[in-house]
């Protein structure tokens, strides 16, 4: 029996690797999901063969409950995918934390706790529960149940660090004497608190990094669980998840020119106090949707730069209609995607794919930048800091050094904004006052809709 179980785990682990490998291209990606499902089914069947399992009714009930929650969670609107993802990290963390707690209580009763087991459990419980509350906080912020702005107070980093040290002491105490069970609830409470405190100072724009980081923690919690249960398929799947989260966090940090510690302990909200309002007020040039349509008619190469504002306004379908109108006229239209646009890695791509924009029209920042000088019109929709030229030259700017999409190099820039209020970081964007920039004020969905309408009516006139 044990051989059969292990063989099932072995095949499952291989299928998981294939599953991720097939994600390298949209053409093979769906095969990746099938491989993942296959691997998971094998692993579950292999586990159910375990002779230690004497009753199935609780498992069956839990499966029903999990399925009942899981199906609606898989049908959320794509704008809500970041929240859903954060929520699933929370569930992953919770499962790891609970299994660790159960194992501790069982082994404590049986006198089977060794220093190694206790250490692994302590790590599993700490990572699991901190991921649980941290991800719930992140989901709350993304859903705007909790204020999205960074919440900071004096001595914040000191308190967080202090909690971490106390948690470490509790864990070390448990490893030295595993029967000191009173330390366990202390560790548990500290982990739960630490998760909350860690996310409090995180602002909305840092969410892509934080979600990726929580992804890595959830993976590492699964790895720790694998060490506790001496289960290699858990270690492998957890390591794959952990490395994925880590790579995504690194990509996000690079795209913002910031370090992990800066994201976690820097509370972006604080930094921009240093920005001077000294910039001389240059007038902005405002245009109508009709003007934009006329400009587009004459263009040959157009780039659209979407940001989180596009998701908020649900303007992705209008963006597709614009794309269609331009395609019809033989005008090249591409979407330039900044890695941190949106609230999670790849957010914009999914939204635009939902609206039917073919993926070959979605271009990464590094790929589009060299082309931008030849582009006739760039349309910035709901993006702000990722196109702020200050990031290139203004050393006093909080976003200095962040790689941006250089739309200011295009012949004409159309920037859509609701009002002239600065973006999340409260930084003035000199793009809006640049000589080649025209402002199209209004809600992204409505404004793009008007442009599309103007284009559509013009095409009737002898094109």
């Amino acid at each position: 029996m044990e051989n059969l179980t292990q063989a099932a785990y072995l095949v499952a682990a291989a299928l998981f690797v294939f599953s991720l490998r097939w994600m390298s291209h949209p053409k093979t990606a769906r095969r990746g999901v099938a491989a993942g499902v296959g691997g998971m089914s094998l692993a579950v069947v292999g586990t159910l063969l375990h002779p230690e399992i004497i009753a199935f009714h609780w498992i069956a009930i839990a499966v029903v409950v999990g399925t009942a929650i899981g199906i609606p969670l898989s049908r959320v609107a794509l704008t809500a995918v970041p929240q859903r993802t954060a929520l699933s990290h929370a569930f992953g963390g919770l499962a790891a934390g609970l299994v660790g707690t159960a194992k501790y209580s069982l082994w404590l009763g049986e006198g089977e706790l060794t220093a190694f087991r206790t250490g692994a459990i302590a790590l599993e419980v700490f990572l699991g529960f901190l991921t649980f509350t941290g991800s719930l906080m992140a989901a709350g912020k993304l859903q705007e149940v909790i204020p999205t702005r960074p919440i900071t107070y004096r001595g914040q980093n000191f308190i967080n660090f202090g909690l971490l040290v106390i948690a470490l002491f509790a864990a070390v105490g448990l490893v030295i004497d595993p029967t000191l069970w009173a330390l366990f609830p202390v560790l548990l409470a500290l982990s739960l608190t630490f998760g909350v405190l860690l996310i409090l100072p995180i602002g909305g724009a840092d969410m892509p990094t934080v979600i990726s980081l929580l992804n890595a923690y959830a993976g590492l919690a699964a790895v720790a669980m694998g060490f506790v249960l001496e289960n290699k398929v858990l270690i492998i799947a957890g390591a794959l998840d952990g490395s994925s989260g880590l790579i995504l966090s690194i990509i996000m940090c690079r795209a913002m020119n910031r370090s992990f510690t800066n994201v976690l302990f820097g509370a972006f909200g604080q930094v921009q106090a240093s920005t001077k309002g000294a910039a001389e007020q240059k007038p902005v040039k405002s245009v109508t949707a009709q003007d934009v349509a006329d400009l587009l008619e004459m263009a040959r190469d157009v780039v659209v730069v979407p940001g989180y504002g596009l998701a908020v306004a649900q303007a992705q379908h209008r963006a597709f209609e614009l794309y269609e109108q331009l395609q019809k006229r033989g005008i090249r239209c591409r979407f330039a995607i900044h890695p941190v646009a949106g609230r999670m890695p790849g957010h914009m791509n999914v939204l635009l794919a939902e609206a039917n924009v073919p993926y070959d029209a979605l271009v990464e920042m590094d790929e589009i930048n060299p082309d931008l000088a030849q582009v006739d019109v760039a349309i910035v929709v709901g993006a702000n800091d990722v196109v702020n030229p200050a990031a290139r030259h203004d050393k006093s700017s909080p976003i200095y050094g962040m790689p941006i999409i250089d739309v200011d190099k295009c012949k004409t820039v159309i920037a859509n904004k609701r009002t002239m209020n600065p973006g999340f970081a409260g930084i003035d964007n000199e793009l809006y006052t640049a000589d080649n920039t025209l402002m199209l004020f209004g809600d992204a969905k409505a404004a793009l809709g008007e442009v599309v309408k103007a284009l559509a009516s013009e095409s009737g006139m002898g094109h």
Binding site: A62, S74, A102, I235
Partner: protein, 98 residues
């Protein structure tokens, strides 16, 4: 636990991490959102540990925790795979593209 077991697990962890880095680095940036929901579903393999704890029924406490853990993991498995597939279905190429 025998020290050999610990070391063999650590080797597995190290190798899996290297494989993970290599495979993930090749994932198309277009697909980073589905990637996250897919790895999320995969790491819900934690269900394996939860099933044993819920099914061996050693104490009420452990059975309750195990059952909640199974429910949480199954939620991730079901919603993770389903939403990944739903998102991937939307990625299409330009029609008529050679």
């Amino acid at each position: 636990m025998h020290p050999i077991d610990f070391w063999s697990m650590t080797f597995v962890f190290m190798l899996a991490t290297f494989v993970g880095f290599d495979v993930i680095r090749n994932v198309s940036r277009l697909l980073h959102t589905p990637l996250m929901s897919l790895t999320n579903a995969i790491s819900a393999i934690a269900v394996v540990g939860s099933i044993i704890i819920a099914g061996e029924q050693k104490t009420t406490f452990s059975t309750v925790l195990g059952t909640i853990a199974v429910a949480a993991s199954v939620t991730n498995i079901v919603s993770g795979f389903l939403i990944t597939d739903r998102m991937l279905k939307m990625f299409r190429q330009q029609s008529g593209k050679r």
